[in-house]
Amino acid sequence: MRRATYREALREALREALKGDPRVFLMGEDVGKYGGTYAVSKGLLEEFGPERIRDTPLSELGFVGAGIGAALGGMRPIVEVMTVNFSLLALDPIVNTAALYRHMSGGQFSVPLVIRMATGAGRQVAAQHSHSLENWFAHVPGITVLAPATVEDARGMLAPALADPDPVVIFEHAALYNMEGGLPEPCEVDIRGAKLMRSGKDVALITYGGSLHKTLAAAGALATEGIDAEVIDLRVLRPLDAETILASVRKCRRAVVVDEGWRSGSLAAEVMARITEQAFYDLDAPLARVCSEEVPIPYAKHLEEAALPQPAKIVAAARATQG
């Protein structure tokens, strides 16, 4: 299997989409001349020109709204928003237009728009660039929310997202851009369900995005203690793949949800609620979760690390379920 970084995988996916469909174009802040804030779109301006690699002014509300219009007008825009923090300036068109147009129009207008944005902490860029607000989007019916955590998903999720006639939001975890991983050829993935990343029998560790790798590290550490942990990568945050989650919980009878979002009102809370509703009598221990501490993500390295889910916290939470 070929090796590539998460960034290279994303770029390959973009290039393939741009080559394969003249309706596809990329727009966002610094996607062109600058080469992408995270260098994902580096080289694409030279290859595809300024019409299709379209630099925008700093107008999140405006260019996300324009992306919706272009999608309604027959194009297949990929709109890049620099970070999830900045996407709050564009929540209106995403929530009040893209997500509800199809339903509100009685099925007449679908919005085939893909929005990509960076999310998450771990790079000491402080509170206004580090948050994980994926669950704000996952709260909204009418959109599909994806969180590629692997190089394979970084490469493979864009094509099905573009083929989807309805809006799709893709969260790229900022700490993963340099991560290397295996890339199967061809790289075909679905955007429908969660994925079993490690099989186990003692505890189900359910996570997504940047926390996947910390969770896998925790599972490795738990194995040395004789605890056989299963790891589920949610991948699709809306709609949630309850079937895979419940199957894992029923098998392991214990579960820990790991989520970089803040604890209160988190996606972890939703996953736990589903398990409680549908698999309560299959549980041998109370559910647990590891989330970010409820503070703005700080700059100083030791404080940032303390604020985030870490393998040691996951190990401790998983161990506690073993009673």
């Binding site: 019409e51 107008s59 405006g62 324009a66 992306g67 919706i68 219009g69 129009s105």
Partner: protein, 330 residues
């Protein structure tokens, strides 16, 4: 505020075209008078925003467009939907919340949609239509389509960031969009002079290199001629244009509005400039219309309204099992 004299002067159109526009203004007026009545009877619920007094804007502007053009409207859009070609029955049924409505009762009065006439809503977030229209026009520019996207919005929208971001993007990318600002002087109850430091709306558009013109919105002739020129320029690829159409809403903002913010005398004064009676008088003065013909036209429109009400009354309710239908494309 001293108002200009009522619209007057020759109507530079052949009789059939002039009567078509008169008829459309009358259709909006009578449809909405009936809707207000039905609101009182609780047949129509929620928000109902009437366009009465502003009919010349939608009628004049939309008759300047072609069927292939796009229209983006606001929550005060019954008139736009009707003039654009939506059946009055479908509008009324939508206001009733019936399955036979244009959006199967999902949208109601504020969210009239019709893909067949390229009407992209019916948007009730003030200003949100502008970026959307910019994107629709961008899609056309990128594909070399000679289509115009007409975007209607009130003057309240110019205070939104969406207006400023969209003006800049539209001018920067030279997209074929026609921005039609329906300036009725009040954003709900807040007068323009109480909310904007710069009340010259054209100056705002011009600051983004978008050419702009002011038009008397009570004069259907002035609106139509201005919109025709503007649409042609936009279609020829001269970039976006902005029209500030100065008009006035005779009725309350919505059915919940007690109108504490304006003087009745101001409303009465504006009514002397009414788009319907002034246009009718001009046509009569030119011998293009007699009183008998007007009454016959009005009676015909009245029958259309009656048919629309009967259609809505006879309509059915969307089954509750279909609540989640059309959330995602199957």
């Amino acid at each position: 505020m001293t108002l200009p004299p009522p619209p007057s002067g020759p109507v530079p159109w052949e009789r059939p075209f002039a009567l078509r526009l008169l008829r459309d203004m009358l259709r909006i007026r009578r449809l909405e008078e009936k809707a207000a009545e039905l609101y009182g009877e609780q047949k129509i619920r929620g928000f109902l925003h009437l366009y009465i007094g502003e009919e010349a804007v939608a009628v004049g502007a939309l008759h300047a467009l072609e069927p292939r053009d796009n229209v983006v409207a606001t929550y005060r859009e019954h008139g736009h939907a009707l003039v654009r070609g939506m059946r009055m029955e479908a509008i009324m049924a939508e206001m009733y919340g019936k399955r036979e409505g244009c959006a199967r009762g999902r949208g109601g009065s504020m969210h009239l949609f019709d893909a067949s006439i390229r009407l992209f809503g019916g948007n009730a977030i003030v200003g949100c239509g502008l970026p959307l229209a910019t994107g629709l026009a961008l899609a056309d520019r990128m594909r070399g389509e000679t289509r115009v996207t007409a975007c209607f919005f009130g003057e309240g929208a110019v205070a939104e960031g969406a207006f400023h971001e969209a003006m800049n993007l539209a001018a920067l990318w030279r997209v074929p969009a026609l921005f039609v600002c329906e300036n009725n002087l009040y954003a709900m109850g807040t007068a323009l002079v109480r909310s904007e430091s710069q009340t010259d709306l054209c100056a705002k558009a011009v600051s983004y290199n978008v050419a702009a013109a002011k038009v008397d919105g009570q004069d259907v002739v002035a609106v139509h001629e201005a919109a025709k020129r503007a649409a042609q320029q936009v279609r020829e690829g001269q970039g976006p244009l902005f029209l500030e159409i100065q008009t006035y809403r005779y009725r309350a903002h919505s059915m919940f509005d007690p109108e504490l913010y304006r003087d009745r005398r101001e409303v009465e004064e504006w009514k002397t400039r009414g788009p319907l009676h002034t246009f009718t008088a001009r046509l009569k003065a030119e011998g293009k219309l007699t009183e008998e013909e007007f009454l016959a036209l009005d009676a015909e429109v009245g029958q259309e309204v009656a048919r629309a009400v009967a259609f809505a009354e006879a309509g059915t309710w969307e089954p509750v099992e279909d609540l989640a239908r059309d959330l995602y494309t199957p």
